[in-house]
């Protein structure tokens, strides 16, 4: 009996070790086109999903894409439910106090879009008296709180950027701030085009907005080197550019 238990335990542990390169990569469970969104068959597609596949292949990791609710994604990482976050999460000082980041894999400016017909631009004066919607737990929420909340009429927090866009279409909010690529994708849709237009790029603040998007990892995790190697590899051999040009007009790696 004892032998069977020892054997079983050893098998279980070695099974765990053999699959040690199984990396659960968390993405946001809410659609964030064009980076990651579900299609009608239930598969996740988008630029970021393809990059995940490319980086993991280059780093020889077996990555399992795991959708997790955005506002619980960092606790999921620290509690061990996922091993990495690749959900367009910006590298900021504040987040670095809790988690670690790999090198960045893209960096795009932050813009404000708003309803057509309302005069505004991406400055505190331009947004005075407006109702601004922003996604919770993002650098954009922090930025709006720091710069626009004092003059804006109201700041409304949404669980997903998509819901903020919906309320912008419905007219409940006047403006929203988010990543330029995501908002350009929204403005390309018929509803987005009809309701809203680009109002301007916000003044940069590297402390709040961060220095690009990287892979979120637990502090001290050896996976960091693997991911950095993978990102460097796909940048060097052209895979990154190939995937990017399939979705966007030009590179979004940023300076």
């Amino acid at each position: 009996m004892k032998k069977t238990i020892t054997l079983a335990t050893t098998l279980l542990l070695t099974a765990g070790m053999a699959a040690a390169q199984d990396v659960r990569v968390g993405i946001a469970a809410e659609p964030y086109p064009p980076f990651a969104s579900p299609d009608a068959a239930g598969n996740w597609v988008g630029w970021e999903v393809e990059i995940i596949g490319a980086v993991c292949a280059a780093a020889e990791l077996n990555c399992i894409v795991t959708p997790v609710a955005w506002d619980g994604i960092i606790p999921s990482l620290t509690s061990g439910q996922i091993d990495a976050i690749m959900a367009s999460m910006s590298i900021t000082e504040e987040r670095m106090q809790t988690i670690d980041f790999s090198d960045r894999y893209y960096n795009t400016p932050t813009v404000v879009i708003g309803a057509r017909g309302i005069e505004m631009d991406a400055t505190p004066e331009g947004l005075a008296g407006k109702v601004i919607g922003v996604q919770v737990s993002t650098v954009h929420q922090a930025y709006v709180d720091a710069y626009f909340a004092a003059t804006a009429a109201e700041v409304r927090l949404y669980q997903t950027q998509d819901e903020a866009n919906q309320d912008l279409i419905a007219g409940r909010i006047d403006a929203t701030q988010a990543d330029s690529i995501a908002l350009e994708a929204f403005l390309a849709t018929p509803e987005g085009l009809a309701c809203c237009e680009m109002k301007g790029t916000v003044a940069d603040d590297p402390v709040i907005l961060g220095s690009g998007v990287g892979v979120g990892l637990r502090q001290g995790d050896p996976l960091k080197d693997a991911f950095n190697a993978g990102i460097a590899a796909i940048l060097a051999d052209g895979t990154y550019d190939e995937i990017t040009l399939r979705h966007f007009a030009s590179s979004i790696y940023g300076g």
Binding site: T78, A170, G171
Partner: protein, 279 residues
């Protein structure tokens, strides 16, 4: 404590509880003291070992959040109950063209999750706005822009659906004799409802209503998903700003337990005010 003398070693003490022999009140019984001590130790550990430094920064927001939760609860319960009475009445004694819609309403509300109802009302209605251009100039627009009217509407309809079912049973269970006697006295129908039927029906189901109100309180966090800033939204905000996972959730649990306690005590007090049944 003194035990009665045991003349027969195999017999147990037969004195029933409360027989007059001196014993400690139940809440001071030894095991309760130990449990209370353990409980206090856990609370002390939580207060000293966990991070609570964020409380002063967010104190005002937390107070606002608690107020908004209470406000949502009270308004939706009052309006919901006001809607539930005609719903229950229609199902209990109404003609088929009133009873059937009421029944359908209650079935649909009770058969679908509240989260879905909330999202349907907020985002579903919101998606219709672009196709109604004149709505932005209408008087209602400031109200339609905000989130709390939809929250109140969804919570009210939900409460009305569940209580409509409860009131249906309550109205049916009031003794017919009383209603017939009042009718024989020539009391107008509305007065019968107001003086005899409704009060008795409500008193019969007061415990159930208390339980349902607690359930309604537990449903209020769902409106945080449509940008209403009540206490759950505030705690989520704290969790995301500070990246602290458990302490805000513990605070939330304490707040809700306190609210539930107040509701239960309130309904118990209401029950004592109900006149004693006359046989």
């Amino acid at each position: 404590m003194t035990d009665p003398p045991l003349t027969d070693p195999s017999s147990k003490p037969v004195a029933p509880q409360g027989s007059g022999r001196a014993r400690l009140p139940e809440w001071l019984a030894p095991h309760r003291i130990v449990l209370a001590a353990i409980g206090l130790a856990i609370v002390w550990l939580c207060v000293t070992q966990m991070r609570w430094d964020w409380l002063p920064d967010y104190g005002w927001l937390i107070a606002e959040g608690i107020w908004r939760t209470i406000w949502l609860l009270v308004v939706s319960c009052i309006l919901g109950f006001a809607l539930a009475v005609p719903l229950g009445l229609a199902q209990a004694v109404g003609p088929w063209y009133l009873a059937a819609p009421a029944r359908v309403f209650c079935t649909v509300i009770r058969g679908t999750p509240l989260l879905l109802q909330v999202w349907l009302l907020y985002f579903g209605l919101g998606s219709l706005f672009p196709s109604i251009p004149w709505i932005r100039q209408s008087e209602l627009w400031p109200l339609l822009r905000q989130a709390w009217p939809y929250a109140v509407l969804a919570l009210t309809l939900s409460y009305a659906g569940y209580e409509g079912e409860v009131m249906r049973g309550a109205f049916r269970s009031v003794p017919r004799g009383q209603l017939e006697a009042a009718q024989a006295m020539g009391m107008p129908r509305l007065t019968i409802l107001r003086r005899i039927w409704l009060p008795q029906a409500v008193m019969q189901v007061l415990p159930t209503l208390g339980g349902e109100t607690v359930l309604q309180m537990k449903a209020t966090p769902l409106v945080a998903t449509i940008t209403v800033v009540e206490i759950y939204a505030v705690a989520s905000r704290v969790r995301q700003d500070t990246l602290i996972t458990y302490e805000p959730l513990l605070l939330l649990a304490v707040v809700y337990m306190a609210l539930a306690g107040v509701i239960v005590l309130g309904f118990r007090w209401l029950e004592t005010r109900a006149p004693a049944r006359a046989g």
